[in-house]
Structures are given as C-alpha cells and as structure tokens.
Symmetry: C2
Subunit: 439 residues, 2 copies
C-alpha cells in the first residue's frame, strides 16, 4: 500500500526532487500511482482531512477531494487498487455508498474505503447547521454512528443482486425488480429507504479499511475492517497488536485472514547505513519544524516546548501515561512508550514526528530494510506495510528499484498482478449478498 | 454541450449500436467524451438523481456519482469542459465547494457545477435522520437554501487568493496565511468557518450552471447562473425566455453576456427528411414506453392514460392550465402549450416525451438541423445547445460528422479549442476574488 502525497517527511516540499507546485495537478498523482502500479503494489491510498489548519504556513496541508482524485486515477491506471478516505461523521451513507460503488465500477473493482470518524474539532465548524450550531460528537458516539453508517452502506450495496440487470432486448426488461430490494433502514442516526441507484459493485463491497487505535476504534475494526492501518515501532508489540485484533475479530465470528494488518513504514535508504543516516539528517536540517513542534505540544497536552533544551531527554514528568494517550491521539501511544523507554531527547522526538508522524522510520540499506520487512511479515507481526517514503516521487522510485527486488527474491512480493480487483490482490474473498463469504 | 448517457430516446438501450452492458464502465463514458472533444464541444454534462425509481424495470435509470465519473474523464480528456450535477438540498456546501474545486484542479480548469435543488420526494427518504425523519422541504425553501449554499460555496473558493501558495524554499514558508481567509459564515441554513482545504480553483470559480424553470428557479438563475439549461420548443418563445432572463439578470446588476442560454436539442438525422422520420418511427417502435406513460401521467396530475385512445387528440380538459405546470414540472409547461396548440394525439405526446423528455426533437437532414441551429443562434434565441442524440454513441458520431461541419462553414462552431479552460471555451470571464469581473 502506498499513500499519495508530496512525501512523508514534513520537510519533503523543501527537498530537491519534489515539485510542490505540481501537487494539485493530475500529473503528480498519476505519476506516483503509475510507479506504484509498475511495481505491482496492492493499492494507492489517499488520506483526508476536512479543514485547513494554520500549519499550512509551513507545510503542505491542503487536500483535494479523495474521490475526485481516485476517479482520475481509475482512468490513469489499470490494475492498482484505489483506497480513499471518507468520513462517517460529516457525510451521509447513501452518498458514500454511491461514491465508492461508482469508483468500483469505473475502476473495474479496485476501490477501497478508509472509514474515518473525523475527530478534528475544526471540521465540525465547517459542517455546521443554522445559526452557528456545530454538532460536536463525543468519541464513543462517533463510533456508534460509524457502525450504523457502515451497516447502511453494506445494505445498500447488497440491495442489488449481482444479476439484477437483465437487459433483455427481447422482452424490453432492463432490470428485474425482484432482484433489487429496498433497505428500509430506520436507526438511531439514519433513515434510508434505498435502493441505491448504482448496481452492486464489481467487488460486491469495496474493501473496508480502518485505522482506529482507540478501544472503540479497535472494536470497530475487529467487526468490519478488512485492512487495518496501524502505527507500530516494535516487532513484538506489532505481533501482539495483530494477535489481539485477530482474537477480537474471532469474537465477532470472523476468521483471522479476513483482517489484514498494515503498519506504517518510512524507509530512508542509503547505499550504506551511514549514507542513509546522512540523508535523514539532511532532511531534518531542511527545517519545516513548526509542524512537528505543534504536533508534539498537542500530543503532550499543550506544553510549551520552546522552553525545553533540545538535546536533553524529554522529562518523564511531561510524558503522559500511556493509557492517557487515547481517542484521537491513540496512534501516538507507542511513540510515548518509545520516548520513555529510550529516553529520547526533545530533538530526537521531534525528528521522529517530523519523519514519521507517529509511524516507524527505518534508516538503512535496501538489504536492511528488506530484511526487516521480511522478519515482520514472516512472524505475522504485519500482513503488509503502508510504505511512506520521506520524499516523493524519488523515495518511491528508490524503494521500487532497490527494496522490491530483494523482497521478490525472498518470495514475499509479487512479480506482477495475478488478479484484476483489489480483493484479488489482497487475497480477500468477495462478499456474497447474504453476507456469507465464498471463494 | 453534450449530456452523457446511453442515448436520450427512452428506447435507446433497445437500439442497435448501443451497449447498455457497458454503461457502468469507464470505456463508455470516456469514449463519448473523446468524440465530443474531437469535435471541440464546450463540455460534457452529467445529470443526476438521488434515488432509483421503479422505471428501472424498463429503462436505464441507475446513475454513477457524477464527481467520480468526471474525475475519471479529467484523466481521459484534455480540453473539453466537465459539468456535473450536485444537490444543494442533500449535500453540504463545504463538501461540494471542495469537490468542484478539486475537479477544477485535476482537470486544469474545466469544471462546471449544475446546481440542482432535487425535488424528488424519493431522494429525501434516502437522506433521512433518526427514526424515520425525512426532511421534506417545500419548493421555495429549497431555493432559499440553494441561494445560501451558493453564497457559502463562492465564499470558500474566494477564501484563497490566487497567489496564496508562496512555496518559498528560502524562507520555508509554504503559504501566506494573510492571503487565506476564513468565511465565518453564519446563516439560516449553514454555519461554515472555512477556509476550504483546497486552493482557489484555476477558473476562480467553476462555471455555475442551472436549469430551474419555475419562478424561484428563474430568479435564482438570473442571480447566479452562467449557463442556463432550458426546454424550448419554439423559436419565438425561446427568444422571449432568453430576453426575460437577461432582463432579470440585469436587475441583479449582471451583464447580458454573463448568462448563456442553452436549450435542449434532440437531433434525429437522415440523408433525407423521410429517412429521418423513418428512423424516428423505428425508435418509437422499439418499445420501452412504460417510462413515458408514467411520466405523462404524473405530468397530468395522475390521470390513468390507459383508458384514452392513442390516436385521438388528448382532451383539452385533462391538459392542465399552463400556470399550473410549476415547480418540478415547470420544464414541461411549454410541452403542454404545444399539445394544446397543435392538438397532439396521445401517441404524439407520448412520442414527444419518449424522444425528448420535455426537450425539442428536430427530425431532418443535417442541412435542416444546421439551418435551424443557426437561426436560433443568430437571433439570440439560444447561445448554444445541449445536444442530446437519441442513441449513443452513434447519434453523437453522426452529429459531429454531418452537422458540425455545416455549422463550421456557417462560422458558428469552432474548428478547435483556442483556450484551455471551460470559461475560455464559453467566453465567460474569470471571477476575481472580490466578485468583480476582469478580462
């Protein structure tokens, strides 16, 4: 899986080899998607936010609508999966079911939906009702709405039998109404009659993706997600996370191979480990640190970090207890654990955030990175990775040219696509209309 | 302007040369758009609905999400405009402003938004709140919401100066926050803080399109629309409509050339007029008449038409008074006038609807069709046409091969694109940030 963007390091736009002026053009997105497709990646991925934050002064923070961009990529690529983010808090299930069904149709079965509940307080101010009313929904309630949202969405996709469009020119019958059923959903959040005005997607359902790290987020993932994005720093912790998620999924009657776990991974490559470290330092030296400073301050509950020495360990007293790092901040819990365990200095912690945004950075040779990936994959600590090169497109080209061949030699990365749909790439079964899975 | 689909005649899917099985694939849409682009049409257009009606048993009625399809077409074409429909009643202004801004970015300035208020009662049942609550909004209130919706949307687009992204690698400043302003909108329907998380669209604003035919719809068009779709049967009536709309626009401080009127036009072509008539009859004979029967019955207030003789004039008593054909049915008002004036039989009226769905059908040779177009254009009865061939792609190919060369010879159809944006194709000025127009 490869997330689209200008590069994962916050100074990416300041680095040679990026073209920040091209970020809003199709050429940029299509170029990246074609590199990933040539290497036979499972999918490209578009993250999302529903507000513009002040950090745009120093970092690219604007974002095009994911469905419009992925629609364009459906035409610019042929086989790679197209995963996009849509919010269950600020959209309607009929609209979202329709958008992803449409993307699945125009791409020939390559759509995936990254389900988010959108914690940003700023977003609710962009979707307010009359006279300044902005609905703030607490964390738990957002997940309750998300659960009903996904239920409605799957019901709409399943409202059409796969063979509902009979298109019989002899009788003049275009569709068989007996094979198109209304949802007639009435729930605590939504009333949706249906049917959807788009036939059942080629994949049955677009692939469902989720990244919640909080307790309700994990339970939600265990119930509905087929791919889970996660931030993991440590092999054993990732293995424990994966096993926990599989156990939770089993309690919901699902099989372990119905939930795939993809930790984030930022590869900083060099011909030698020393060169890789040098390249990482050069990126940090480019600046752009306002974002990481703000992010860390928010993570630590608003502490003013400008008063702390950069090269001394972050005082234990200002690091929150791990169980306090919940809700929207949950994906940083393991970073806080790392900081405490390794006694990271403020500078080191800021660099972790600048380079990884809460995800794991591996600095080393292609051989070192490939060996690390193989170890996590073979042990079951990961089913794959969200590969987020620090600078794009250069970092993606390097990864596909230098690391992917080693993974192929190890027998853990495909030579080319065998199937045509995202489900086929991932080895996920196509849901049949009753909800039962068949091979 | 060319509306995408399987063909405008309701029996199109039954005709040779259409591929109803391909309707959901990108190849169908992209193929049509490329034919229209090769002929240098201004734009392709995707209509929309937010529910699936029973008529799908006999007629294609499913519809992919317009923004996803137009995103794909942005990548499949280079110059042609991309106009899509989005509802102000069942969507949020932040989301819609963002979708069309994104389409404008990925297409390099080719986006247009057909603003609809979505009258369908069925749609509200697909966007209901908790416990079966489905907000029904009366006609007038829908337009009040639409006016505020467009105001918010334009404010979001104008929240960014064209030069807000400074991307200065020397200073590390990516954007100038002084050139990105919040909307802080608070109104009767929406509260939207902003700013949008997408920079100002290449066109400033995507082109605004509208098709309301009711009194509030016309006033709305006069205030905000740059292109107006309309159903017109008669040259003089269309001229009166155009002049009325220009006068209304002038009362809102706009110039006549800021509002372009595009009547619908269904060309049924033949080498001779007789052959054209024969082709039209052959289409009618294909069947698929359930849709037009249902539509006419609804138009006439629920009359059961199956009891009437097909080949006698429709009794004057069951034709509504013209001023009763308002609201959602307003675009059929002129058809009712035509039926009364010409004493159309039930069969003729059904054929008008089957072939034109309320729009004008011209049956004749390419020379006749071209002469008709030239007459309307030169007199000011139309600024252009929404050309809706009865069967696709064949009807579009015929029009571009047989009629367009005649229009070029007459000097009223471009040989090729001079500009790159939809505004440039249409001769519409680019809005500056203050709302003032510059050349």
């Amino acid at each position: 899986m490869f997330p689209l963007g200008v590069g994962h390091h916050e100074a990416a736009w300041l680095a040679e080899g990026t073209d920040p002026a091209g970020m809003h053009g199709l050429a940029h997105f299509a170029g990246l998607a074609r590199i990933a497709e040539a290497a036979a990646f499972d999918a490209v991925f578009l993250a999302d936010q529903l507000s513009l934050r002040d950090i745009v002064e120093f970092n690219p923070h604007e974002k095009l609508d994911p469905l419009v961009v992925l629609g364009a990529l459906a035409a610019s690529t042929e086989r790679i999966g197209l995963v996009g983010t849509a919010s269950t808090t600020f959209a309607e299930p009929y609209a979202v079911a329709r958008q992803f069904a449409s993307l699945d149709h125009v791409s020939g079965g390559r759509a995936g939906w990254n389900i988010v509940t959108t914690a940003e307080a700023e977003a609710s101010e962009n979707f307010g009702g009359p006279d300044g009313v902005t609905p703030r929904r607490p964390h738990e309630e957002r997940y309750a709405r998300a659960a009903e949202f996904v239920e409605v969405t799957r019901g709409l996709w399943d409202g059409w039998a796969d063979d509902a469009l009979v298109r019989d020119r002899g009788t003049g019958r275009y569709a068989d109404p007996a094979r198109i059923t209304e949802s007639r959903h009435r729930g605590a959040h939504f009333s949706v009659r249906g049917p959807l005005n788009v036939p059942r997607p080629p994949q049955g359902h677009p692939v469902l993706v989720q990244a919640g790290a909080s307790e309700p987020g994990l339970e939600f993932a265990a119930r509905v997600a087929e791919l889970v994005f996660t931030a993991q720093y440590d092999h054993d912790e990732s293995l424990a996370f994966t096993r926990d998620l599989q156990a939770r999924a089993a309690r919901h009657g699902r099989r372990p191979d119905e939930v795939l776990v993809l930790p984030g991974l930022i590869p900083v490559l060099g011909a030698t480990e020393e060169e890789a470290r040098h390249r990482e330092s050069a990126l940090h030296a480019l600046g752009g640190g306002e974002h990481s400073l703000g992010l860390l301050s928010w993570l630590l509950g608003g502490v003013d970090l400008r008063k702390l020495p950069l090269d001394a360990p972050v005082p234990d007293a200002i690091l929150p207890a791990e169980d306090e790092v919940g809700g929207q901040r949950a994906r940083f819990a393991l970073l806080v654990r790392l900081a405490r365990r390794e006694r990271l200095t403020l500078r080191q912690l800021l660099h972790q955030i600048a380079g990884g945004h809460g995800h794991r950075v591996i600095v080393g040779t292609p051989e070192q990175v490939a060996a690390d990936i193989e170890r996590w994959f073979r042990s079951g600590a990961a089913d794959g990775f969200n590969v987020m090169p620090p600078v794009l497109p250069a970092g993606l080209e390097e990864f596909t040219e230098q690391v992917v061949p080693l993974l192929r030699r190890a027998g853990i990365f495909r030579e080319g696509y065998a199937g045509t749909t995202l489900r086929e790439h991932l080895g996920l079964l196509r849901p049949v209309r009753t909800g039962e899975l068949v091979g």
